[in-house]
């Protein structure tokens, strides 16, 4: 396979198309707009449909309609737009309609929104957080796969840096032969029995049992968690401090960790790839080896809650990130500079940072 140089946003859109996405709906908002732009030209070339919707509410519900008919469908936005879609996310999960949601964050302030959601009821989406453009391509394809496998929305959590980074990538479509046909989709009954696709469940007519349905949805979540937890770790064997980070900033953290090693500090990293399900075991295993965990994230402290839950007080968990304001307003400011991250890791390493 040949590699092509692509900007992150375009690579994400192309990956979706190569994963079989044939419907996209979006509403412009920086830094997700490039995905809409790319889709508007490229989707019709493969017989797909791209809608420049009139609002985020319309966009996600158009995706609902297409995905409810069994077509692979995607939407992208950033925090504000994603906030508007929360009612639909909650009910898409209940209706067991698979689709892919991309949030190109401004900074990393949408961790809570992505992993807890602002919608109602007992639902979750799978959340995958790539840290390179190649990984974004791979995880978008994986997102379509796991969304279909579990009949649940899957969210790819990218950010401003990822969207605007150009890298050489290759598209490696997945083997999807393990996925069952979408016999549940509303396509017109034809010669089969008619069916419902509703958030109250049960495709069978005359037989809606919402209580049973909600139980079944809730019972699905631990099974998803057991099967779909993903993390990457590095340099932990002799590490005394491990840094936990996700998404693009994790790439800066990896660089900083290597720089710390060069200065003689025994430091490693844990990078959650799935944010829900959160890789608590990988984090706990890392904690078992080190005297402190440092958490770098570009927000006021969100993932750190999950890290602390994973560690249960066994070692100090020290925040070394923070909101990072720069004049562009998108949170890609000075906190991300490697020198800053190296200095913060060094403080924890020398035992100076407070837990």
């Amino acid at each position: 396979m040949t590699k092509v140089l692509m900007e992150g946003s375009h690579a994400i859109a192309e990956a979706a198309i190569q994963a079989g996405c044939r419907f996209y709906a979006g509403y412009p908002i920086t830094p997700s707009t490039e995905i809409l732009e790319y889709m508007s030209h490229r989707l019709p070339q493969v017989g797909g449909v791209c809608m420049n919707a009139e609002s985020e509410l319309e966009a996600i519900n158009m995706v609902w309609g297409a995905a409810g008919c069994g077509v692979r469908a995607m939407i992208a936005s950033t925090g504000q737009g994603i906030s508007l879609m929360q009612e639909s996310f909650a009910e898409l999960a209940n209706a067991e309609i698979p689709c892919v949601i991309v949030n190109m964050m401004r900074g990393q302030g949408d961790y809570f929104q992505a992993t807890r959601g602002g919608g109602h009821g007992d639902y979750r989406h799978l959340v995958l957080a790539p840290h390179t453009v190649q990984e974004a391509v791979d995880l978008v394809m994986l997102a379509f796969h796991v969304a279909d496998r579990w009949r649940n929305p899957a969210l790819v959590l990218g950010d401003f840096v990822l969207g605007h980074t150009s890298e050489a990538v290759e598209f490696r479509p997945r083997d999807e032969s393990d996925l069952p046909p979408k016999t549940w989709a509303a396509t017109g009954k034809g010669s089969r029995a008619s069916l419902n696709v509703t958030p109250l469940g049960s495709p069978e007519k005359l037989d809606l049992k919402p209580g049973d349905h909600y139980q079944a949805i809730a019972a699905k979540l631990p099974r998803i968690a057991a099967a779909e937890t993903r993390a990457e770790t590095g340099l932990l064997d002799d590490a005394e401090v491990a840094v936990v980070a996700f998404g693009s900033p994790a790439r800066f953290v990896k660089y900083a960790v290597h720089a710390c090693r060069a200065q003689g500090m025994k430091v490693g990293w844990v990078r959650p790839i799935s944010l829900w399900p959160f890789p608590a075991e990988a984090v706990a295993a890392a904690a078992g080896r080190v005297r402190a965990l440092a958490v770098f994230e570009q927000n006021a402290g969100q993932m750190i809650d999950d890290v602390r839950l994973a560690v249960l007080g066994k070692v100090p968990v020290v925040p070394i990130g923070g909101i990072s304001h720069d004049p562009s307003g998108f949170g890609v400011g000075p906190a991300l500079a490697p020198a800053n991250i190296i200095a913060k890791i060094a403080e924890v390493y020398r035992g100076k940072a407070a837990a």
């Binding site: 044939r22 419907f23 709906a25 449909v49 809608m51 919707a53 009139e54 609002s55 509410l57 319309e58 966009a59 519900n61 158009m62 995706v63 609902w64 309609g65 297409a66 995905a67 409810g68 008919c69 077509v71 469908a73 009612e87 639909s88 009910e91 209706a95 509303a186 396509t187 017109g188 009954k189 034809g190 010669s191 008619s194 069916l195 419902n196 696709v197 509703t198 958030p199 109250l200 007519k205 005359l206 037989d207 809606l208």
Partner: protein, 250 residues
Amino acid sequence: MSTPELKKVSAKPDLLLSTHHSLCPGCGEPLALRVILELLAELGVAERTICVCGIGCYTAFPGIIDVDVLQALHGRAPSVATGAKRVLPDRFVFTLQGDGDMVSEGLQEIIHSAARGEKFTAVLLNNGVFGETGGHMTSTSVLGQRTKTTMDTGRVAEKHGYPIKIADLIAQVDGSTYVARGAMHTPAAIAWTKRILGEAFRVQLEGEGFSFVEVLTMCPTDWYVEPSETPDWIERNFTGTYPLKILKHP
């Protein structure tokens, strides 16, 4: 003396799986459903129909109608139908919404769907109240109408604003092709509504564009009116604001 021959004028529509539903006696919505199901059978489109149902009392219908159903959230049926019809353009897609659903919560979506000329048929069941939540004022409650939230005075323009004539609005939008209004309160009105719904459905089947039918339906429970008096209530209170007519045709 010979017995006059009995002629059966109505029977359970073939596409109705069960006559059990949770709607109130005297409600106009099951009547509208009946007309729709009869038409789907007569036009021979049931096998390729996708009904997109909104949220209101009529949410009881998906389980008992023998066509595929996508359940949409309150206000969102036109967007869901857009997604469905765009990916499956050869299917017959229609939406079912109440006035609270379509005109209050989802006004933007129905207008934009009309403006885009989406090739599905939108059906509004307009009873001038939020039926399912218990009888509150909606955007279509008429002036003077007593609802749970306009109890003492009825709807007063200075306080509650004016009702929105959604069919008139949609007829103004360039992307709409067929717009008409019917009602369920008399046999003649039902026959008229069946005619305009049939025309709206044919507009879709012939790929001519966006078709829209508003159907005035009775809500004896939330109007605080005896079921037997609701036809008269529609005549006196609704048809002045919402005259039964074709507002736009190809």
